[in-house]
């Protein structure tokens, strides 16, 4: 039962073929069985989940109207605030933090009558590409538990791949939904900046962060996006516009679709199995009536350095709030107020978070601001212009989601720059605020999934989801064996 997709569960519950309690129990049993191996959860909520399922079942029995995803069990990344439920960001700094409110997306999923199974592991404060930076545990890739699940939403991706929830939410600042989706063979959507409210998402880099779904298939991805998208007055960067159903827009028709394939994403550094799978997928698109051709995004190599300056600068500012006064961890020994701040932050943050705060503080400090922060923002303008030009000619762009399939646990932890390279295919999308979806398009010789990324115009989610939907039908999916 745990292998069902969210839309299958929704339909079965609606048709009274299954109760929410039954399916919730099935997922809790599944968690019991595989969680020791996968370690995707920080917090599991068995009693709360069964109670929520019971409430939904009662509503249905009484004939009351229910939400669009009534009874579907799901889980949230642990940087999404959930009222009275631990929200740790996988950091010692917030190990005991119980938010007094729900983030907007959690509220929307409550309104849709979903069932929350728990909160998911991540790289501390969403900084990382392997979920090895969690204070609590290292999540494993369900396809091979000696490999990383990717990051920072590694818990969200591994959870879906291991069938420990019907779908999950993650957040994506430089690839944190798409890169783990790619490594764990799920479908992940990073929506256009401003379409999903960030209210109650613990901020990393506010001009880049965006919440999105990780799901078992494209239909699930679209229907979850339908539930979380929309204007929210509580987020000052929320875009005020109306959205038609993305699920209903899935036709699978890509006849005449113009696909650009940026050569900069297919060359050096991209492994052979990844290139092969992407080229095969492009041929599938062609067979379906789409056209593709090679093109150029010449500034792509500057996206990663620009991203690290911008995101670290914003992080150093956003993380200033963690000082041992208002919430979370406080050091036991200190001399005075300033020492309380410094001692708390030094003991509460892990190495990668400190590294990013240091880089960001450096880039914003007197004498370096123009050279690094302002320069990166100017390059951001140029990268956006590059994309604008590309979208005059093409409807969507197709690239690999990651340069390689899943790498080994511990393989890249010694060299931060090497780890940063894992995001080389994804960061430019955040810089330009664009939507992009990742889905499995093949498997390497070891059975590890290869992810394909489809990048769209601003607010072009319907087009990229539809292209993904068309391709998905031509890919035979391989499940992990746990």
């Amino acid at each position: 039962m745990h292998t069902l997709t969210a839309h299958e569960i929704r339909d079965k519950i609606k048709n009274k073929e299954m109760s929410s309690k039954e399916i919730t129990k099935a997922f809790l049993d599944r968690i019991e069985k595989v969680e020791d191996k996968v370690e995707s959860y920080v917090t599991i909520l068995p009693e709360e989940a069964m109670k929520a399922a019971e409430t939904v079942d009662e509503k249905i029995a009484k004939g009351e109207s229910v939400g669009a995803l009534a009874g579907v069990p799901m889980a949230l990344k642990d940087n999404l605030c959930t009222k009275d439920i631990l929200t740790t960001c996988s950091s010692k700094m917030l190990h005991n933090f119980r938010p007094p409110y729900d983030c907007t997306v959690a509220q929307k999923l409550k309104d849709a009558d979903t069932v929350l199974l728990g909160k998911l592991n991540m790289d501390e404060f969403a900084m990382g590409s392997s979920t090895e930076n969690s204070f609590f545990k290292k999540t494993k890739n369900p396809y091979d538990i000696t490999k990383v699940p990717g990051g920072s939403s590694g818990g969200s991706a591994a959870c879906v791949a291991a069938d420990e929830a019907a779908f999950t939410l993650g957040s994506d600042t430089g690839g944190s939904i798409r890169q783990p989706a790619s490594l764990c063979g799920c479908v992940g959507l990073k929506p256009t900046y401003g379409t999903v409210s960030r209210f109650g998402l613990v901020a990393f880099a506010s001009s880049l962060d965006q919440i999105g779904p990780l799901a078992k298939d494209v239909t699930d991805c679209a229907l979850v996006y339908d539930q979380i998208v929309g204007y929210d007055a509580m987020d000052s960067t929320s875009v005020n516009r109306k959205y038609a159903s993305f699920e209903k827009a899935l036709t699978g028709d890509v006849c005449g679709l113009k696909i650009g394939v940026p050569a900069e994403y297919m060359g050096e550094g991209i492994s052979e199995p990844v290139q092969k799978a992407i080229l095969a997928a492009l041929d599938s698109f062609k067979a379906l009536g789409a056209e593709y051709e090679d093109m150029h995004l010449p500034l792509n190599e500057y996206a990663l350095p620009a991203y690290y300056m911008i995101s670290s600068a914003e992080a150093s500012s956003n993380l200033a709030r963690f000082d041992g006064v208002k919430y979370g961890f406080r050091a036991e020994k200190f001399d005075d107020l300033v020492d309380l701040y410094a001692q708390t932050r030094s003991e509460g943050f892990g190495a990668e978070v400190k590294r990013r705060i240091m880089i960001g503080t450096y880039a914003l400090s007197s004498g370096y601001y123009d050279a690094y922060y302002k320069k990166a923002q100017q390059v951001r303008t140029m990268i956006m212009q590059d994309f604008d030009k590309a979208f005059e000619k093409y409807d969507v762009l197709v690239t690999p989601a990651t340069p390689t399939t899943a790498f080994g646990i511990g393989e890249k932890t010694d060299d931060p720059l090497q780890m940063y390279m894992a995001d080389i295919c994804t960061v430019s999308v955040n810089i330009a605020g664009l939507p992009a979806v990742v889905l499995p398009c093949g498997y390497d010789a070891n059975g590890l999934p290869v992810g394909l990324q489809i990048i769209g115009k601003p607010f072009g989610e319907a087009a990229i989801l539809n292209a993904a939907y068309a391709l998905e039908k031509n890919i035979s999916k391989v499940r992990p064996t746990l």
Binding site: Y302, K354, I357, A363, S365, Y372
Partner: protein, 95 residues
Amino acid sequence: MKISKEEVLHVAKLARLKLSDSEAEALSADMESIIGFANKLNELDTEGVVPTAHAIPMSNAFREDVVKPSYDRDAMLANAPSAEDGGYTVPKVVE
């Protein structure tokens, strides 16, 4: 690109971080490599290019100035490491 241990300690002070000797040394090497990587941006001529802070052009989001229910004070203070008489407590700052 050289970033000395003194520079690292200065930045740490700005960021309210206390670093051990070994942490400062490791960060000096890491920052040299990461900031060195960022120097790649200098290959691009950005003369006259307007910096972008946000991908989606937007101005201030205004709302009506109306009173709405806010969060309960005790609920907000429940997460404080130390609270007293409806406020956060910190070490004495004024002698």
